[in-house]
Symmetry: C2
Subunit: 312 residues, 2 copies
């Protein structure tokens, strides 16, 4: 049996990326109902909002689902307490050291996956005892690694370094790329951008529309001086670009970012001044579909493509 | 039968990237003898040197081989004349408009493939009547596209745009990544960095050693103001990086580049002041092997990995 399906008790090894402002209870429950693993993106939620989303997801599906937890979140201890109280079975952690919370979560029977973008952190994950690693390539949306290693290069590198279950992320939005990820040595895939452009995602409709209109070259990895983040090009992006071209310092960049930019862009639909985080693969996405259709299409294309692979 | 094998009359759809200073007659003939398609990298050759390499390759193999021709080469017409005189069956063109020479080459019975990094040029290739497209991702070594689209994103995008035979390039150095490229919809792969670190490549041994020592994050896409090129980090790279950070103009950058940097680095082995072009996947390469071993390992790993792919 597939290691990721076995680990989480799911039908298909398709993990929905837990993305801020885009993945609430509707998306998470729809993905779990479709046979994948839905994740509530806690990074944009106050603790009691998270509890509410967990309870709504529990009502909307009898399948397993989890929470994505960026470890830099200021109220992290409160979020973890809620996750334990609500008896969530799965947590995906990111943006931090996996050594910090893994054993605590595991002591409560929670399966832990951690997101990394290089070999060093893959090894840290193994030391920390995580159950699975998500290895995320340069093409992924949102926060990203400094090395700029792409999925094609990263997955074989990590596969040849660690033995634990491995989930590929970055550039995966169709059955072809899912199959490619498995060929590279992954046991499963994490899909972000494709689920942003779903009916059930909590992204603002303006943002969803912008995602399906995006073409190649319409995203860029920015803010490399702080934490690299892949942005869809808009006025806000241009402002950051200008500041970076003028060699603005970190404090000036943080000052311009201000607060609430991501909410403004992705949740409130301000396509001009909001921060729009999305993957390069948005260039390959041209329709807003239901989660059920997305998963069905992905599995069908996977099957067809698998049959087409030549033997030598 | 596989389209690329059929088109070129080869056993495995493995094309050796025609790389300046690294791919002379020894590499090209070794790859063709191993069942792939060897390409002489004409971009670093004076016309009569190219003729010499063609004749030596003809002596060293009875298999088909070709030439890679960067269209920006100053003595391009002389090179093309030699290719026609020597009755070469295959030309891979890059760095230019495929409309310019394709029909001329095809009128002489030559099969033409052209290297692109975006959809616009893929469509131009179809209009120009090329026989195959090489789609090259951001992770590839040497010259690269402005859009920074990775192989994982680019191949399905191009596959869904054009029907002609498609060769994936960028990040492919093992059987896993070869299989992944085919899963993404490619009919074949172009392999560069892995063949640089072969016994038969004409790269200086210092450079080969540096390639196998390279770790993740050791290459970066530079000179985006002129033509993006992926470089291995060394003193020369640091100098370019400093100039770019100081917002140097194009003429200043070109002035610093000067002449002969690539030869100095890759052919003469000056790892300090020379230009070292290599792919991100150098992080995954840790041995200098014979071409026969490289191809054999790649095909063996491809077969093993194909058997391992899960069905859903």
């Amino acid at each position: 049996m597939n290691k990721i399906c076995e680990l989480f008790g799911i039908k298909y090894p398709i993990i929905q990326g837990g993305m801020i402002w885009c993945s609430g209870w509707e998306l998470a429950s729809a993905v779990s109902n479709a046979g994948g693993l839905g994740l509530i993106g806690a990074g944009s939620m106050h603790p009691e909002i998270l509890r509410d989303h967990i309870r709504k997801t529990q009502k909307a599906t009898d399948k397993v689902f989890g929470v994505n937890l960026p470890l830099l979140y200021p109220q992290i201890d409160e979020l973890i307490q809620i996750i334990i109280e609500e008896k969530l079975p799965v947590v995906f952690t990111s943006a931090g050291n996996p050594a910090k919370y893994t054993s605590h979560l595991k002591a409560h029977g929670i399966k832990v996956a951690h997101v990394i973008a290089n070999k060093k952190f893959a090894l840290k994950c193994v030391d920390a005892g995580v159950d699975a690693i998500v290895a995320e390539g340069f093409e992924a949306g949102g926060h990203n690694g400094f090395e700029e290693t792409t999925t094609m290069t990263l997955i074989p590198l990590i596969r040849n370094t660690v033995d634990i279950p491995l989930i590929a992320a970055g550039g995966i939005a169709c059955g072809k790329s899912m199959l490619a990820a498995m060929a590279l040595g992954a046991d499963g895939v994490q899909v972000g951008s494709r689920f942003v452009a779903s009916i059930e995602s909590s992204a603002h409709v303006n943002f969803k529309q912008k995602v399906i209109e995006a073409k190649e070259g319409d995203t860029e990895l920015m803010l490399k001086k702080i934490v690299p983040v892949r942005l869809l090009k808009n006025t806000f992006y241009q402002e950051i670009k200008s500041l970076e071209n003028e060699r603005a310092g970190i404090s000036q960049l943080i000052g311009h970012l201000g607060k609430g930019r991501a909410k403004k862009g992705m949740f409130e639909g301000d396509l001009t001044e909001g921060e729009l985080e999305i993957g390069q693969v948005s260039a390959n996405i041209d329709s807003i579909l239901s989660v059920a259709e997305i998963v069905r299409n992905m599995i069908e294309e996977y099957r067809e493509q698998l049959k087409r692979l030549p033997q030598f």
